[in-house]
Structures are given as structure tokens and as C-alpha cells.
């Protein structure tokens, strides 16, 4: 056993017994790993890889098979003595929402037996790091999502644990809060040599860790330093601009479909980034029909991860069928028009004089930190919430006077896919179809079409609640598109989804847009803005930026010498907006 390992796992397995007609699930299937002390360790992997289960086993909340030693204690035999020494932040940290920030901190300090004197210094530091000092009296339930996560982290850090476990601490957190959370963790690792194990679906976060474990379907796919994970993709990564006049996502979609030669493709900075298959090394840009100016780029951890996943997936079987790409519909006319839109809740201005237009066939992104007014804007566009003032036209209909008529040309997929879990896929489609006014032959025909379009034929009779997340999302989209709306609204459709599921999702969106459907989408993943024709960035109800991703990056200060990714651009714009706000408030 290595001296400096905080967690030593040898052939750890975890099975969940069969329940109500479902088969036994194997969450972890023979994991062996050593997590180093005094450093950051990342667990990465797609949904259902077993990350959360592994962390729960380490925290002594479940009993594993095999040998699992945490801080040199057999955690299965003596969970309490491990729990005395570690801190654990579950995916949704259990803050007591009725209790104030201070009371939550006090509770955990009491439970961990932190003395009064120790507390004084610790609280000051935690509140400063989390920037929660101004809100100590506020009930935890009234904090924004990012602040809640920071408070959860603060509660786990009321004393220095010997090991800190963080389970996807940044899910549903905007880039600014995400950066702040990582600064806190980083600082603790540097200052106190804290040992941290963090699970994440953000691969750029894993890049900052000393050690990375890639989990997939309960097995350890790879492990090592970030550069070890990157290695399989080295020399395979290239970037090229799309043909003039074509959005990057169309080229990206075509390349992604070319699975024989391409492992992965994503739009990036107005260009397309690909990972080629091994066999193609050396042939580089001279592919027939590919007169593109490919230039090689450095592999990132995400690239290595995608290579690993695609390799293991090809054994697992065929991916979902994807619709073919057709010629893009002509666009130009505005389908959504928003002018001086205002929404107030009492004194609070959630959306402040916002104006933009969305053109037919466009993919339009709404971006902003938690509590920026995205959701409020979104609900007004869908006709779910009346505006306080301003003009709001959707598909040529004024939403303020004829919301019902406007809604007919709108499909809406909410964050939590509003489906009836105990109805089958077919029953859900039939019900929602009739709710949209479809019936008889027409309904049957449309159901057949969407089942084929979303590759759901094989699941038609499965209970939708039992479907894996990706399939549920496809069904939710199929439902929203039954009545062939002109506009599709998607509220954080990729929140909590892994890289593979997100690729597939955007591939479908690209097809939809190419067929002329207008798509309006909110997202926390800034790189997904690259799929959009145009985006807006909102903060505190105000529109800070509007334009193509490239224009927005320019606005954030991008130059040819200093390239920016969307996340940097977003943080730059929001921070500048906030500075201006405080300057105005002072003046």
C-alpha cells in the first residue's frame, strides 16, 4: 500500500439488487485505485459511470464488496471513524433552507466540534472566500444556485478535514460561480495540503487535478496525470474554419457523422475542432472533398477522454441513429421580436428593458449567470409569464394580446422534461399530441414520424420513467415537436448531461435548424454557445451582449493575438457589466 494514498481501493464492486421487475444493476465493477494525499484527484466519466457511488462508498454511506481503505481505515467495517475525519459534499448539498447562512455554518461547526476560538478565524476566512459575508442572516433557501453551492462547500470546510469529497460541485452553476468555487478549493489544497477527490463532468476542471480517474459503466477506463489522459489524442487534433458563409455547426455535424474517420468534432471559436481516428495520422488535410485548411492543435484532456470513450463505446454497440442533414432553410425574416421587455416581481426587476430579435431558422442562445433573468425572459417568450411592459411578438402574434394563438406555434422542453413517467413512450406521445389538438390519422402519422426522427421506435412501449436520461430528453423533444411548431424552446437541455449526450443533442438541434425550425436555448455550458448563430448574455436582468459568438468574443476584448474561449468571454463581459453597474451606483 502506498504511503501517501488517502483512498486505496482494491477490486471494489457495488451492486444494487433487482427491484420491481428491473434487473440488478452493477454500479461499480472491480475498481482499483490509489488517490494521492495532499492533492486534487478527479473522477470523470459519463452519466451512470459510477462516480457518485464510488464517493458514497468512500464516505461510508454504502457497503462495498472488495477492499476499500480510507485514511488507512477499512471504511466498510468502521464508517464512523472515517466520517469523523472527512468532509463530504453530495451533489445536492443538504442545506437547511429555513436556516440562515450563519445557522447552517454553526450547525456543522457544532457537529464537527469546532471550538469558539477556531471558529472566529475559520468563519472570517470562509465568508471572505465565498463572498457570503453580506448574506449571513439570509435563509439558505433564498440564495442563488451558485451561492448555495458555495455555502455547502463552506459547511464542509468549517474545519480542515483530512479528506474532502466533492460530488459534481459545479453542476448547474454558472461560469463565474464555478471559477470561484475552484479558487476556494485550489487555495485550500495549496495552503493546507488538503486531499480532495472531486467528481465532475466538466473536463476542463479535471485538467487542474494532479490525478484523473476515468470511469465508464462502473469500470476504470484510464488513470494518471492529465497529460496521461490526453496522450491517446495527441497528434490527432485539428482545427479548420468552415467554408465561407456556412455556420461551423454544419461542418461539425457532417464531420461528426463521419464516424469512420472522425472520433469527435466540436465547433470552437467559429471553427471546427476534430479528433481523427488513429489510421488517419499522416494523411492529415489531404482528404478527398476536404479542401479545408486543417492545422494541428494541442490535445486537451477532453480530447483524450473522447478517444477513450469512443473506443469503449464501439464495442458497446451502435449509437442512436441520427437524422441526415439537409440544405439549410433560407432565413432573414424575424420570427421573435422583443422590444423594451420588462418584468418586475414587486420592486425586483427581473428583466430590464431588453430588446432583441430572433430570425427564422436561427439557433439563438440565452446565457447568463444564476439569477440573471434568463428563465424569466424564457418564460415570457413561451407565453408562460406575462410581461410587465414592452413588446413581445412570437410568429407574428402579439403574446400580450393572443398568448394562446402564439403558443400554438411554439414547442417547449422544460428543464425537467415534463413527461408522465409511468406512461409508455407511445402513451406520452398520444396524450401530448391530443393536448396539442392532433387526432386520428394525422396524430398517428406524426407519432410515427417523430419516433423515427428521434430513434425511439424500439422504446415505443417502454415506460418513459425507466428510460435512460438521453432517451428521456429525446422523448421530451419528440413531444414538443409533435405539432410541428415553428419555434422550439429548450430550457437548459444539457444541464447535468455528459459530453457524449451533449454531442448527440446538438447534432439533432443542428438538423432541426437546418430544416427551418427556430431554436431558442438556455445553457450553462459556454462552449455550447458555439453552436448558436447568435447569443445574448444577461446579468441582473440587463442585456450585456448580443451578437454572433464571434462578435461577443470581440466585445469581450478578443484580438487575433489573444484568442478567447466562450467561457473567458462570458466572464469578461459579466464582470465588466458588474463593474459598470457599481460605478453607476456610486456616481
Amino acid at each position: 500500500m502506498s504511503e501517501a494514498a488517502v483512498v486505496v481501493a482494491r477490486d471494489v464492486r457495488k451492486r444494487f439488487p433487482a427491484e420491481r421487475g428491473e434487473r440488478e444493476t452493477v454500479a461499480l465493477d472491480g475498481i482499483s485505485l490509489d488517490a494521492p494525499a495532499g492533492a486534487l484527484t478527479a473522477l470523470v466519466g459519463p452519466d451512470g459511470a459510477g462516480k457518485t457511488t464510488l464517493l458514497r462508498l468512500v464516505a461510508g454511506l454504502m457497503k462495498p464488496e472488495g477492499s476499500l481503505r480510507v485514511l488507512d481505515v477499512d471504511v466498510a467495517a468502521d464508517p464512523q471513524s472515517v466520517q469523523n475525519r472527512i468532509s463530504y459534499m453530495p451533489q445536492r448539498f443538504g442545506l437547511y433552507e429555513d436556516l440562515s447562512v450563519q445557522e447552517n455554518l454553526d450547525l456543522y461547526a457544532d457537529l464537527h466540534g469546532v471550538s469558539r476560538e477556531q471558529r472566529r478565524g475559520r468563519y472570517a476566512r470562509l465568508l471572505e472566500m465565498t463572498d457570503l459575508g453580506r448574506f449571513t442572516a439570509r435563509p439558505a433557501g433564498k440564495l442563488s444556485g451558485g451561492m448555495k453551492q458555495k455555502l455547502g462547500l463552506a459547511c464542509t470546510l468549517v474545519r480542515s478535514p483530512e479528506l474532502l469529497l466533492l460530488d459534481e460541485p459545479t453542476v448547474g452553476v454558472d461560469p463565474l460561480s464555478r471559477r470561484e468555487l475552484w479558487q476556494i478549493v485550489r487555495q485550500l489544497v495549496d495552503d493546507e495540503r488538503l486531499s480532495v477527490i472531486v467528481s465532475t463532468t466538466y473536463l476542463d476542471e479535471a485538467e487542474r487535478c494532479a490525478r484523473v480517474f476515468v470511469l465508464h459503466e462502473g469500470r476504470l477506463l484510464a488513470q494518471g496525470r492529465p497529460e496521461d489522459i490526453r496522450r491517446p489524442a495527441r497528434g490527432l487534433c485539428f482545427v479548420a474554419p468552415p467554408p465561407p458563409g456556412e455556420p461551423a455547426r454544419l461542418l461539425q455535424a457532417r464531420l461528426l457523422d463521419d464516424t469512420a474517420r472522425i472520433i469527435d468534432a466540436v465547433p470552437q471559436g467559429g471553427e471546427v475542432r476534430v479528433i481523427r481516428r488513429q489510421a488517419e495520422r499522416g494523411e492529415t488535410a489531404q482528404q478527398p472533398g476536404d479542401a479545408l485548411a486543417w492545422r494541428p492543435v494541442e490535445a486537451r484532456l477532453e480530447d483524450g477522454f473522447m478517444v477513450l470513450l469512443r473506443e469503449s463505446q464501439s464495442e458497446a454497440g451502435a449509437a442512436a441513429p441520427l437524422p441526415a442533414l439537409r440544405a439549410q432553410a433560407a432565413s432573414g425574416e424575424a420570427i421573435i421580436e422583443v422590444r423594451d421587455l420588462v418584468r418586475k416581481f414587486g420592486d425586483f426587476v427581473a428583466v430590464d428593458r431588453t430588446s432583441f430579435t430572433v430570425k427564422k431558422g436561427e439557433i439563438f442562445g440565452l446565457l447568463g449567470p444564476n439569477g440573471a433573468g434568463k428563465t424569466t425572459t424564457f418564460r415570457m417568450l413561451c407565453g408562460l409569464l406575462p410581461a410587465s411592459s414592452g413588446v413581445l411578438q412570437v410568429a407574428g402574434v402579439d403574446l400580450r394580446t393572443a398568448p394562446a394563438r402564439a403558443r400554438r406555434s411554439v414547442g417547449y422542453v422544460s428543464q425537467r422534461f415534463a413527461l408522465y413517467g409511468n406512461l409508455s413512450v407511445m402513451e406520452n406521445l398520444t396524450f401530448f399530441g391530443s393536448a396539442y389538438g392532433l387526432h386520428g390519422e394525422r396524430l398517428r402519422a406524426r407519432i410515427g414520424e417523430v419516433l423515427a426522427q428521434f430513434g425511439l421506435e424500439a422504446q415505443a412501449n417502454a415506460a418513459s420513467g425507466r428510460l435512460p436520461g438521453g432517451y428521456r430528453q429525446r422523448l421530451a423533444m419528440a413531444v414538443a415537436l409533435l405539432h410541428q411548431p415553428d419555434i422550439l424552446f429548450l430550457d437548459e437541455p444539457t444541464s447535468g448531461a455528459d459530453a457524449l449526450a451533449r454531442r448527440e443533442f446538438w447534432r439533432r438541434i443542428t438538423t432541426l435548424a437546418a430544416d427551418g425550425t427556430t431554436v431558442v436555448v438556455t445553457t450553462h455550458f459556454m462552449e455550447e454557445a458555439e453552436y448558436c448563430d447568435r447569443i445574448v448574455i444577461q446579468d441582473a436582468g440587463r442585456l450585456l451582449a448580443l451578437g454572433t459568438p464571434q462578435q461577443v468574443r470581440k466585445q469581450a476584448g478578443e484580438t487575433d493575438a489573444r484568442r478567447m474561449n466562450m467561457e473567458e468571454a462570458f466572464i469578461g463581459i459579466v464582470e465588466r457589466g458588474r463593474k459598470r453597474e457599481t460605478a453607476e451606483a456610486v456616481a
Binding site: R92, E103, L111, P139
Partner: protein, 379 residues
């Protein structure tokens, strides 16, 4: 920091209990259920619901027009019990019966006064049998009214005295002399309210912690399951006692229910039952780990049986055997029996000892099970 392990028990318990009390005071829904609902129940059961028969309307058909027959109507007229009204014909009386406008019809036949003189007069009494217990009571009222009417006639010398040796039944209701149902409903209400607070409310708040994942965070600390449980028990035990105090105050000052037994014994047994109810609530929540399910199970397994099967509404001796067996499994039944006897009959020491022992055994077993099923484990 003190050594982890046995140390810190009190510090953690105090902290967790303080957290629980704060949550209780800040969540309006909990306060409503813990304090406001008992008050509403007291008022509904005390004022709204009464099983007494008061001023029952009775149709009287006089086929005999003699003064003696008319005097029967005066005899039936017993303020507070029966309200007779003379109708023209038997048909009219039947119609009133069918329309449920009267609870009974008394038919005085044409030969009533002749046969009265001969000593074997008869009247026919028709009763609304749909509500059997009400019908039985009204029959008793009518029979009683007629008996005292003939007694009075004899006293006045208008009729021969009953023959020597004839037994006259003088009945009197013990332990509830006025036969006032409020007197036994209000003590029973104490059982219901303690069940509501102890089992239902506690199951709900504990299941909420499982559901919201707050326990997952809490578990990975030095906290012990028994501390989590005690921190739930202490505040809700106090809420239950407030409910008890409200009921006792209402019983004494609002409904003037007599209290023949010892108040101390009553308090002691109520505390025992509260522990039983808390045990039920904690077991339910730890097994279901889901608020909706916990509330349904608590309703079906504790509150409804306490309402229907504990002898609160229906005497357990009169129900089918299967139901009686179920009733006898319920801890609520023993507390119900004890509390009614304490209120209305006084200190029956053998009963007190037996039922307190049963309740104590239930409390120990249920709280023990709650401790066993509440483990710091998610699988």
C-alpha cells in the same frame, strides 16, 4: 476538539435540537399542523360533532280523540329530549317519516282510552332505523316518557297503582350522567391529536430530511443516528404536550368535562403514548424515506385507525371480531381506554397499571425499531 467518539454527544444533540426547533418555528406548515390543527379539531369535535339526540321531532297520530289520549301528547313532550307534533292521519305520519322530517311516529289507536281503562293499552312506535343508535335512544326516550306519564296518572289517582311485585326499571347512565357525547369525545380527541403530532408530523419532517438529501450531508460528520433521532423527538414531544395542554384546557373550561381520575396519571400516560406515536412516525419515515409516502402511511397506519378502531367512535365490543383484534393491536386503543376511564370514571388502578405497561412496552419496541432502521447508510 474533543476526541471523536463518545465525546461531543451533548454538544451535537443540543445543536441538532436547536436546528430542529428553528425549523419548526419557521415553517408555517409545521406550526399549522402542530398547533392550529389541534385547535380546529377541538372546536369541530367539541361543538360541531355531537352524538346526542336532542329535541327529536316525533309525529303523533291520535285516532282516539279522548282527553286521556290527548294527555299522552303532553306526556311525550319532554323538553330537551322529544318534540312531539300531532298530525291528522297515519298516512301523514308515514309521509313525514319517509321525508325524514321526524325521527319517530307514535300511533295512538282508536281503542286506547277503552283499553287503558282495562289496563292493557297499547301504542305503536315507528322508528327511523337507518341510524340504529339514534333509533334506540329515541325508543328509550318514548318508553321513558310514557312510563313516567302513567306513573304520574297513578300518583294522581287516575289509574290503579301498579300491582305489588311488579318491578319498575329506573335506569340511570353512570359516568356520563347527562349522556353528553362531548364528555367522551374530548378525551378521545387527546388521543387523536397526540397521534397527529407524534406520528404524522414527525414522519413528515423526518422523511423530508431523507428526501431533500440533508441527511446525506449530515451523516458524513461525527453525528450518531441516535442523536439525529433524539433531536427529532425532543421538539415534537414538546409540541405534543402543547396539544395535550390545549385539549385539557378545552375539556375543563370550554366543555366542562369532569375529571374524576388523577391528572398526574393522565399526564404520565399521555407522555408514554406520545413516545409511542413518535416511534411510529420515525419508523415510517426511515422506511419510506419519502414525504408523500410517509404521510400516506402515517395517515393509514396511525391516524385513521386511532379515529376509527380505537374505540373513539365505536365501542370495540360491538364490532366484528377481526376489527376488534386489529383494534387491540393498536396502542391507541389502550390509551383511549385509559384516558376515557380517567376522565369519566376515576382512578381504576389495575387498568392504569396494565395499560401504562402496555404503552411503555410499545414505546420501547417502536423507538428501538426506529433506532435500528435509521442507519447512516444509503443502500
Amino acid at each position: 476538539m474533543s476526541a471523536p467518539g463518545s465525546g461531543g454527544f451533548w454538544r451535537r444533540l443540543v445543536s441538532l435540537t436547536r436546528k430542529e426547533v428553528r425549523q419548526l418555528l419557521r415553517d408555517r406548515a409545521n406550526l399549522m399542523m402542530g398547533i392550529a390543527l389541534p385547535i380546529v379539531l377541538i372546536l369541530i369535535f367539541g361543538y360541531g360533532l355531537s352524538l346526542d339526540v336532542k329535541n327529536a321531532p316525533v309525529a303523533v297520530v291520535l285516532d282516539d280523540a279522548s282527553p286521556v289520549a290527548r294527555d299522552v301528547v303532553a306526556g311525550l313532550s319532554t323538553p330537551g329530549y322529544l318534540a312531539p307534533r300531532v298530525v291528522g292521519s297515519a298516512h301523514e305520519a308515514y309521509a313525514l317519516m319517509r321525508a325524514r322530517e321526524v325521527d319517530a311516529a307514535v300511533l295512538v289507536p282508536a281503542d286506547f282510552s277503552r283499553r287503558l281503562a282495562a289496563g292493557d293499552a297499547q301504542v305503536q312506535v315507528l322508528l327511523q332505523g337507518a341510524d340504529a343508535s339514534r333509533a334506540t335512544m329515541i325508543r328509550g326516550y318514548v318508553a321513558g316518557a310514557l312510563a313516567s306519564w302513567s306513573q304520574k296518572r297513578a300518583d294522581r289517582g287516575e289509574a290503579p297503582r301498579p300491582a305489588a311485585g311488579q318491578v319498575q326499571v329506573v335506569d340511570r347512565m353512570w359516568f356520563n350522567a347527562a349522556n353528553n357525547s362531548t364528555w367522551y369525545l374530548v378525551p378521545g380527541l387527546i388521543v387523536l391529536i397526540m397521534t397527529l403530532v407524534g406520528a404524522f408530523l414527525t414522519a413528515l419532517v423526518m422523511a423530508r430530511e431523507w428526501e431533500r438529501g440533508t441527511l446525506e450531508s449530515l451523516f458524513v460528520t461525527p453525528v450518531r443516528p441516535v442523536e439525529v433521532l433524539l433531536a427529532k423527538i425532543i421538539p415534537y414531544f414538546c409540541v405534543g404536550l402543547i396539544g395535550l395542554a390545549l385539549c385539557l384546557a378545552a375539556a375543563a373550561f370550554l366543555f366542562h368535562v369532569p375529571m374524576y381520575g388523577s391528572l398526574l396519571v393522565l399526564l404520565f400516560s399521555a407522555m408514554l403514548y406520545l413516545l409511542v406515536a413518535l416511534g411510529i412516525g420515525l419508523v415510517i419515515s426511515s422506511v419510506t424515506r419519502n414525504q408523500f409516502l410517509a404521510s400516506q402511511v402515517a395517515l393509514i397506519a396511525s391516524f385513521l385507525p386511532a379515529l376509527m378502531l380505537s374505540g373513539f367512535m365505536f365501542d370495540l365490543r360491538n364490532v366484528p371480531t377481526a376489527i376488534r383484534v386489529i383494534g387491540q393491536i393498536l396502542p391507541a386503543t389502550y390509551f383511549m381506554e385509559l384516558i376515557k376511564s380517567l376522565f369519566l370514571a376515576g382512578n381504576n388502578w389495575p387498568l392504569i397499571a396494565r395499560n401504562c405497561a402496555i404503552l411503555a412496552a410499545y414505546a420501547v419496541v417502536l423507538l428501538g425499531v426506529a433506532r435500528l432502521v435509521t442507519r447512516k447508510r444509503l443502500d
